[in-house]
Structure formats: structure tokens, C-alpha cells
Symmetry: D2
Subunit: 150 residues, 4 copies
């Protein structure tokens, strides 16, 4: 069974964060992992783009009720209408979380993951005890897959 | 963008209901629709089996927190940990619902769909005003796709 | 510990249904039960009015994000932002459900209750196997409290 | 209409945190605010105890499906069965949040509040930009009520 890895991060990201997220998505696809995300823009879209271009499966769990809000690289779009409570569903659907950059929504996802025992790998994100920092996209994916399988 | 059709029905179903659900799944796959289901057994498993064998995409939105509870034909398994509240997510994720057979969980999905304006097609299910009855799996899928696109 | 009884029914109800709901609310208050409802109008408002006038506690679990959508007889208003998924929370919060009248939302609540083993008493509502019909507001409350305690 | 203030904090707290939470609860009760909490132990129980002893209304939004998991000072107990996703409901139900101490669950509540524009006051909690720190329970309550009304 495939591993599911969530890539979480802000909808408005820096070019460096988007580049990292795209590389993370591509590496997850090559490893055969399913990418879970919030389905919107910024880090989410970049990760989906990387995964889709790498031939991977991308899932977007959307806050609103309309599937069309998903970015174009989401293969399976799940509109929830739950607003920010959908952040908890992203975490539940994941065997590991990679946080790239960080705004408050990302922080909530990281916190819920740490609370529920889902491993969290960080790239340029919040300095919260429990997040394992990685220094490159490749290292983040390798670590996430190791923790997810563990 | 692909249409998403939920096939809902009891986890313990009759052979006739499972046969109908499998045929529904196959027809959805051939039409390029994404199959959404609760991911468990009975009607859900039969629909997923039909769709998977037809080369379609199958999504299972699970009530529990563990992905491994999904039936083997679910390609994308979303554990929610929401219990029966996940029924509402199945409906939200769907452009149309096909109900095959019917237990109380199915009834809740039908009711939520009718409440929120999602078209419901019925095959051997509850006699509730608002459900459009179909007399065959093929007819149910044709009607669901027409309503979903509408 | 007090029993919690949900009174569910349409937001647009007949005068007879509102009269019954108000009487149900009053009887619940006199019995010391907490009234749970969806917090809006029609049957919900009538039940809350009856309970509030009887000195009881009224809880409204609202679909939207704004507390001010609660009817004026709700003492504790919980905005959820979950839309119709909040119907499942009403059922979860209740030891028994009394359905007065019935639209699709009511049907979803009845179905979720029956699915999860919460007793359902009906007054002029859906004819669904598993609902115990009552012939008066007083009888409905007596039966609900008996089942809730059971 | 009363203001609703959530007091969030760890289920296992230090004596100083519990003392602060109890004082917060008492001050909220005296101000006529409704106390919302997760309904369990530690900071949650201490806040409820303070509010109940001060004659206030206490609401517990519980992660599990059983009302009996609420601490004894919860007047209105809402079992949700949502697990940690109920943290989002606590935030939605609140006009302001006071965080006392902090574990990962608390962090998720703080993050969701900041994400959705609910003011957060902190007492001995996470150092996250956006939290307004207070130096005493009285100051925290005064600030929370001011922000909630704003």
C-alpha cells in the first residue's frame, strides 16, 4: 500500500518555498507516495505541480464546498465545506507531514500532527519542538518516507 | 474536469445489490467519472471493484482513522476519524449520488444530498420523494451523469 | 447528570408542528432535560421557546459560523461552520431524538440517530422503520426520556 | 448577548497554570461571559471550576462520543466524536481565546484562532507572533473581553 504524505504550507509563498515544494512533490511522486494537500495555491500548488509532473497521485482536501477551487495539478479534489477544520482531515489522511514555510494554517496542521503522533518534517518552517528539520527537499522526502513507514 | 459520483449503500448487501453496484462502478469508470464511496464492504466494495476493473479512479472516504480499513479496490483512501459524520463528506464530494439498496447510513446520505441539492438516483433503495428511481445500473449511471453535468 | 434530548424538525413548519414542538420543549424543561436543537427557526425555535419559558437549558448547534443566527430562545449557541454536517453533531450530543414534522434535514438526523443507536421518537414525521411514533407531545417526551435513560 | 471566551490549555498542567486557569474562569463568570473549553482535565477543568464556582455557564466540547468524559464543572457537555478536529469547533464557538500553558493541542487551537481572526490572549504559553501576552489572569480576561467585544 502506498504511503500518503501531506505537504502543507502557505497559500502565498516565496519563490524559494515554491521551488522547494515542487521538488518535494516530484520526489514523492518518484517514490510512489500519494501527495495530500489543501489543494489551493502557493506551496500547495507547487507541491501538486511537482508531483503531477513526476507522474504521482495528488489529492486536494479543500476548505470550501466547490471542487473548482482546486489548483490544476490536483487529480482527486475533495471539497469539504469545513473551512479550516479541513486542516485536521489533511493530517488524518497522512502518514507523515512535510511543512514548507509557514503561516497560521500550516502551524495548525503541524500542531495537530504532533498532537496525534503523525511525524512532521520541516523545511524553512516554524521552530516548534517535535518538528524534524530538513535541509533540502530531497532530505525532507527521504526522512518523511522513513518516518511514514516506521 | 471529471464528474464525481458517489455510490452509497449498505456494508452488508444482497448479491443482487452487489451485482448492481459493481455494474454501476464499471459504467462510471467507462464514462471517466471518479467514484466516491465510503470505502468499506458490501455495496461500497462492489462499486469500487467494478470501477477499478474498468480502469476508473476510486476514492474511499472512511469513517475510522485507519487507511487499512478500505476495501482493496479503493485507489485513494481518506481516513477521517469522523465516524458517521463522514457521510456528509461523501455527499459534499459528489456531483451526484447513486443509492443502491439502503440501510440507515445510506438514508442519511440520501437525505443530506437532497437537502443540499445533490441529485440522487435510486436502485432498489428507500422510497423517498426526491430520489429519481432507475430500473437498471446502466440507466442509473446515465441519469446520474446527466444530472451531475446539469 | 441531566439527559440531553434533541428536538429536530423543519425550519419552516406548520402551526400544529410548532405548537407540538413548543409543548415538547416545555415538557423537557419540566423534566430537567437539556434541549439540543439546530438553533434556527420553525420547529427548532418553537421547541427552544417552550423549553426557555419552562426554565430549561437550550443548546443550539448552528450550521453557520455566526452565533447571531440562533433563535432568541437559545441559551447556549454553538456556531460550527460545518453546514449540514452539523446535523451529525446534534445527534451525537443527544441521548434521544424527538422528530417533529420532517424535511430532508430532519430525515438526515433521524437516519444518523438510527444508524448510531440513538432512540428516535416521532411526531407527525417520516414513516421510517425504527422511529417510535408518539401521539402527543407529552407522550413523545415521556418515551424519549425513558429511552434516553435506558 | 453574552460573549463566549474559550480557555484552552493542556490536560496535564502545572499547579501554577491550573491556578491561573481557575482565576480566569472566575473572572469570566463574574463578567457574564460563557466559558467554552475542551471539557477535559488540567487547564480545562480548572477554568471550568473557577467559572462554575463564580456562577458562570461552562460549555465543554469533547473529542470523544461520551458525555461522561466531561469534567464535573462542565454545565453543558457536547460530545463530538471528532477527536482533535473538535479543537476547531472550540475556536469557532469563541469570540476570543485565552491560552494558558501549552501543549500541541493548545498550539493547534491558537493557530486556528489566529488563522480565522479570533483574538488570542496568552498566559505562560507558546511564543507565537499574534498572541497577545498577558501577565495575570485578570489582565488576560480584561483583554479577552475587550477584543471579543471589538
Amino acid at each position: 500500500m502506498a504511503l500518503y504524505v501531506a505537504v502543507v504550507g502557505p497559500g502565498e509563498a516565496t519563490p524559494a518555498q515554491e521551488a522547494a515544494a515542487q521538488e518535494v512533490g516530484g520526489a514523492l511522486a518518484r517514490a510512489g507516495a500519494v501527495l495530500v494537500s489543501g489543494g489551493h495555491g502557493g506551496v500547495m500548488a507547487a507541491a501538486c505541480r511537482g508531483a503531477a509532473q513526476g507522474g504521482g497521485v495528488t489529492v486536494g482536501i479543500l476548505p470550501g464546498p466547490d471542487r473548482r477551487a482546486a489548483n490544476e495539478w490536483v487529480a482527486v479534489a475533495i471539497p469539504t465545506g469545513l473551512g479550516e477544520l479541513r486542516n485536521g482531515l489533511i493530517v488524518r489522511a497522512a502518514d507523515a507531514v512535510i511543512a514548507v514555510g509557514g503561516a497560521y494554517g500550516t502551524l495548525s496542521e503541524v500542531a495537530l500532527a504532533l498532537k496525534t503522533g503523525v511525524p512532521v518534517i520541516g523545511l524553512d518552517t516554524w521552530a516548534i519542538d517535535g518538528i524534524e528539520p530538513a535541509t533540502s527537499a530531497q532530505a525532507a522526502v527521504a526522512l518523511a518516507l522513513e518516518r511514514a513507514a516506521g
